[in-house]
């Protein structure tokens, strides 16, 4: 568990006078589920967007899967998967067409697409849905499918931006089973979430308040440190100190 896959050093993003993310420094180890928590507007998405190459940092350094965030963006892109907070499959394409498209733009060959596509369908139990339009699937299935598609090319790291928004607790639990499954295959998961019960599923958690990381540890240690019974209490204890308007 000691190989570092994400390393950031004083990563900062300014929008004019506003500092959205201030000197963010942390490490993520291979094969862990890293929870990235914070209230709305705390800067979670800004950090994640910088790590994915969607936005350029104002200052600071970071490496993803050993590649430099400024100079080796192409190499980084090949080694990460991404699932955005908006639902990110094509509604007017069928399940199989979505799988083939996303696999295709990561350069998977026809044979790989077939094998991986089959495995994915079997794992999700969607044998009868392959020819259905994604728009006709229930939200929970869509999200499971979106996650499976995001890791179809076996990335080193998968970034999940509030992946379980709006789904019921049972589907959420099933979704987390998929994440565990992926982690067992050696993929590192970087997850942002609002749900504190989900925070408990993570190996380690960072809490962002006002653009800065205020706490970073395992859920158990955090609860001990803040003498709280649940992650909820830890979160409220930290978020209450926020100065930014929520």
């Amino acid at each position: 568990m000691n190989e570092i896959v994400i390393q950031t050093d004083k990563l900062t993003k300014r929008f004019g006078d506003f500092i959205a993310a201030n000197e963010i420094t942390f490490d993520v180890y291979k094969g862990e589920i890293f929870g990235f928590l914070g209230a709305n507007g705390a800067g979670k998405t800004t950090v994640m967007r910088m790590l994915c190459g969607l936005s350029k940092p104002s200052s600071g350094a970071a490496t993803i899967a050993g590649f430099d965030i400024y100079r080796q963006t192409e190499a980084i892109k090949k080694n990460i998967g991404y699932m955005s907070q908006k639902f990110s499959l094509y509604e007017d394409l069928t399940v199989m067409e979505n799988i083939h498209f996303f696999g295709g733009i990561y350069g998977l060959s026809g044979r790989q697409l077939k094998e991986k596509g089959e495995a994915l369908i079997t794992r999700l139990g969607m044998r009868n849905e392959t020819k259905k339009m994604v728009s006709s699937l229930p939200l929970g299935w869509k999200q499971k499918l979106a996650f499976s598609v995001a890791i179809l090319h076996d990335p080193k790291i998968v970034f999940l931006d509030e992946p379980t928004g709006g789904v019921d607790p049972i589907t959420r639990r099933q979704f987390w089973d998929l994440i565990y499954d992926a982690v067992e295959r050696g993929i590192t998961a970087f997850v942002t979430t609002h749900y504190m019960d989900e925070a408990e599923y993570c190996n380690r958690i960072s809490m962002m308040v006002d653009g800065e990381i205020k706490a970073l540890d395992t859920p158990a240690n955090l609860k001990k440190q803040y003498s709280a019974d649940s992650m909820d209490e830890v979160f409220y204890g930290l978020a209450r100190k926020a100065k930014r308007n929520l």
């Binding site: 936005s55 991404y82 990110s88 509604e91 007017d92 696999g103 733009i105 350069g107």
Partner: protein, 374 residues
Amino acid sequence: MKSSIPDSRFWAFVRKEFLHVFRDRKTLLMLFGVPVVCVTLFGFALTNEIRNAKIVVCDYANDDASRQIIGKLAASREFQLQNPLLDYNQIETAFKQGDIKMAVVFPANFNRDLLHLNEAQIQLITDASDPNTATALSGYATNIIMDYQQELIQLQGLPYTINTEMRMVYNPELKSVVNFVPGVISLILLLVCVLMTSVSIVKEKESGTMEVLLVSPFSPFGVIVSKAVPYLALSLINLTVILLLSIFVLGMPVNGSFLLLYAVSTLFIITALSLGLLISNITTSQQAAMLVSLMGMLVPSILFTGFMFPLENMPYVLQLFANIVPAKWYYIIVKSVMIKGLGFEAIWKETLVLLGMTILLLVVNIRKFKIRLE
């Protein structure tokens, strides 16, 4: 690794874009339906009118020759004679009142002039608000009159001449049909390329899939190029459909080189695609993209291309403004190649203008796109 060279990833993307297009049946139907319906309706309306066109006769002569010619006109299937008029001044009223397409006027002493002077006049007055019909009808009538003249010459062995004097009312410059097809082509290409492209890109921004694409190793430039491919293909198919209809339904041949027409059309399509891209860059919702495309692009194109409203009649400022509308230049090119049958030497200036606009738009796009990604 740069991924601008077409590889398997590129084709996966193009395939997906085609799927989007084919899934959206309504839009597809509209894209192909509109030009087909426009051109076909127009064509059939024309062919129907040329059979049994209603004409009136104003016969001041009322002699053997005039009656014989009138008999021939009445017997032809092209014409359907209405009640004759007694006074020349009634003709205008007849045109205004009904569906009269042509008036044939015989001067007094028609037969006598013909026999004594070997020469006589007939006046054909046509309603040129429908220019194709007007020319066709006066052509038919002239043929019938010439037939009569031939018969007379053979019969009498004397060189008789009947002169037909044409007069067009309402639209003497004969504008519309010949302008219609090039106009429809310009508008459809704009519709497909500007509107469809901008909406399809903005849709990805709206739904969040654009982020997923930008996170993938697929280059942003590749995203744009592969989005353009289906619309380029659709546009060329649409162009072909319109040309086929205009040749086989309207009987309006392409007088110039097909190769030249397609080459210049491809250039115009690229101009329009770059415009669509620019619109998708400055808007964030499908509605906004649609509005900007329609108001900012299609309306000026309809107004300032010259096919609906003659540019010469516009105030000088508007004439100047028309120069920045790409469709204006393309329209001139299509007319020159298709109708006048001119070659590249006649249209190189207009082509150069389009090329300049395209390069400018692409440069602006690339700059904008880079900024957006930072």
